[in-house]
């Protein structure tokens, strides 16, 4: 592709990429807007009304602060536990094959059980409050990152292990500068799946738990026949997910900058 600047930023390419990204949502939104214009249906209100209500409820009415922010906090707290636990146990299991083998039936089974099936059990132990919500988010979203970390650590090159042994690299440095960066591309792939899982679990536990959060808002609106507010909850969830995904990608680009640069470099060298 042409137009590549000296600093490697491909400006026309970026604009083109953005347009390519945006065309489908824009087309769909326009289609829905005109198709639903003047809708008299109770279940499918016009997009115009939904957009106006979204502004009213979430932005002007402060719904972001009262319902979205608590959800976000919950999500981040549960997800943080999942990431830390996944990387910690994943590294241990990746380094000590015996432990991985011993734990495999459990990890395989736990991964195979649909997260939502754990909801009644979790409610039995933790009730319907924060403890249940956080433990569900953390527990269910741990598995993808755990399994990917195991794989990533296990596939660290034997030469690199020998280097760290012969140069007497300290255990913490081996983890921080050896195994963790080596496994990072795979850890991130797992973290991205874990994140999607965490968002889904968050919505579900909020629908079934004590009042509060966007999940509860959507369910409550539905049960009280407030169909337009219900739709606004879904719109916000869409924005919310998209924004978090963007944030995630920025973070990944920063932490794995060496990886992307290396890949770009090797591809550039082959032409």
């Amino acid at each position: 592709m042409s137009g590549k600047g000296r600093n490697g930023v491909d400006v026309p390419g970026r604009i083109l990429g953005f347009l390519w990204n945006a065309w489908l949502p824009v087309v769909l939104l326009c289609a829905i807007w005109f198709a639903s214009a003047g809708s008299q249906s109770f279940f499918f209100p016009s997009l115009e009304r939904v957009v106006a209500a979204t502004w009213q409820i979430w932005f002007a009415g402060g719904g972001i602060v009262t319902d979205l922010v608590p959800s976000l906090m919950r999500l981040l707290a549960g997800y943080a536990v999942a990431v830390l636990a996944g990387i910690l146990f994943g590294t241990i299991m990746g380094l000590v094959p015996v432990m991985e083998v011993a734990a495999r039936p459990v990890t395989e089974a736990a991964r195979a059980v649909p997260g939502a099936a754990l909801l009644p059990i979790s409610m039995m132990f933790f009730g319907t409050g924060e403890a249940m919500k956080l433990s569900m988010i953390a527990f269910i979203s741990t598995w993808p990152i755990l399994l990917n970390t195991i794989e990533g650590v296990r596939s660290v090159d034997p030469t690199l292990r020998s280097v760290m042994e012969t140069y007497h690299i300290r255990p913490w440095h081996r983890f921080r500068y050896g195994f963790l960066p080596a496994a990072a591309p795979q850890v991130f792939a797992g973290a991205r799946i874990s994140f999607a899982v965490a968002v889904a679990v968050m919505v579900i536990v909020e629908m079934f738990g004590t009042p509060g959060g966007i999940g509860f808002f959507i369910r409550h609106a539905q049960q009280t026949f407030q169909v337009v507010p219900m739709w606004t909850g879904l719109v916000m969830l869409g924005f919310f997910g998209y924004a978090l995904n963007l944030l995630f990608r920025v973070l990944e680009k920063r932490i794995l900058h060496w990886h992307y640069a290396m890949v770009a470099h090797s591809q550039g060298g082959q032409q």
């Binding site: 030469t159 020998s162 012969t166 140069y167 080596a182």
Partner: protein, 282 residues
């Protein structure tokens, strides 16, 4: 970026070997005594003996698959011999000795692609608890020593293969070991780079009086570099001969290789290596 002031040779590494020191009188630094190794029931090495003197350049040569790398792993403490022992600096090797640095064949896998050249070199020093300024100074000097100035902020994959192996050698030098072990270090670079790296290794050895044990399958390379060549052959591998190389301290890619003695040693080792194969051992 500040360039360091000129300095004398001796402030980088203590105790450079005076050129032409009588090798035979130097003390033993690495004692390979009756070393055998088997993978399960498959014997690979049998009864190897060699005393490596301080400051000596020993090349271990043998055809592919003779267990050269296995021997090297035993010397580096990455494997325990199944028979006999390796003694380094007066201590039996049961784990990688602290005063030993290893340069591996595959530079692309022995350097960390997520660290710059400088950080690759300083990581072992950091683990040893050496302060930041000293680390940086040692890294820059080691890079200068291997002929790489101004690449300390580059990532390994931004450098050519030969340059990457130079960074790996710089990492070994900055570690200031008593001995360096090299596993076919120049096998993955082109011929010209290979000759350059060979001369670099010789220069570094002269400079610091460091002991070098280098494994190679290339007979010319072994003779060109070594004070002594350990010839491995057979299955399991035994020491076919320990050949003294009398080609002087100063070697030159053209002149040394044109010497009659070079040709003689070369054919001598070549015959030693070829002999078992002719007998149809298998």
């Amino acid at each position: 970026m500040t360039r360091s002031a000129p300095r004398t040779r001796s402030d980088f590494h203590p105790g450079p070997l005076s050129p032409g020191a009588p090798m035979a009188q130097a003390e033993t630094i690495l004692d390979i005594s009756d070393v055998s190794f088997s993978y399960g029931s498959l014997p690979v090495l049998r009864g190897l003996n060699c005393r490596v003197r301080k400051g000596e350049f020993l090349c271990i040569v043998g055809p592919s698959g003779t267990g050269k790398t296995t021997l090297l792993q035993c010397l580096a403490g990455l494997r325990l011999p199944t028979g006999g022992s390796v003694v380094f600096n007066g201590k039996t090797v049961t784990e990688p000795p602290a005063a030993l640095a290893v340069v591996f064949q595959d530079y692309s896998r022995s350097l960390m692609p997520w660290l710059t050249a400088e950080d690759n070199i300083t990581l072992p020093l950091r683990s040893a608890g050496i302060d930041r300024d000293t680390r940086r100074e040692r890294a820059l000097r080691a890079l200068e020593e291997v002929g790489l100035v101004g690449v300390e902020k580059k990532y390994p994959w931004q450098l050519s293969g030969g340059m990457q192996q130079r960074v790996a050698i710089a990492r070994a030098l900055a570690y200031q070991p008593a001995a360096i072990i090299m596993d076919e270090p120049f096998a993955s670079v082109d011929a010209q780079t290979r000759a350059d790296l060979e001369d670099l290794t010789l220069r570094v050895r002269d400079h610091f009086g460091i002991t070098v044990v280098l494994v190679t399958h290339d007979i010319d390379e072994a003779v060109y570099l070594a004070d002594r060549v350990m010839v491995l052959s057979g299955r399991p591998a035994t020491v076919a001969d320990l050949v003294d190389v009398d080609l002087g301290q100063q070697r030159d890619q053209i002149e040394t290789k044109a010497m009659p003695e070079f040709a003689r040693l070369r054919s001598h080792i070549y015959r030693l290596i070829r002999r078992p194969a002719k007998g149809g051992v298998g």
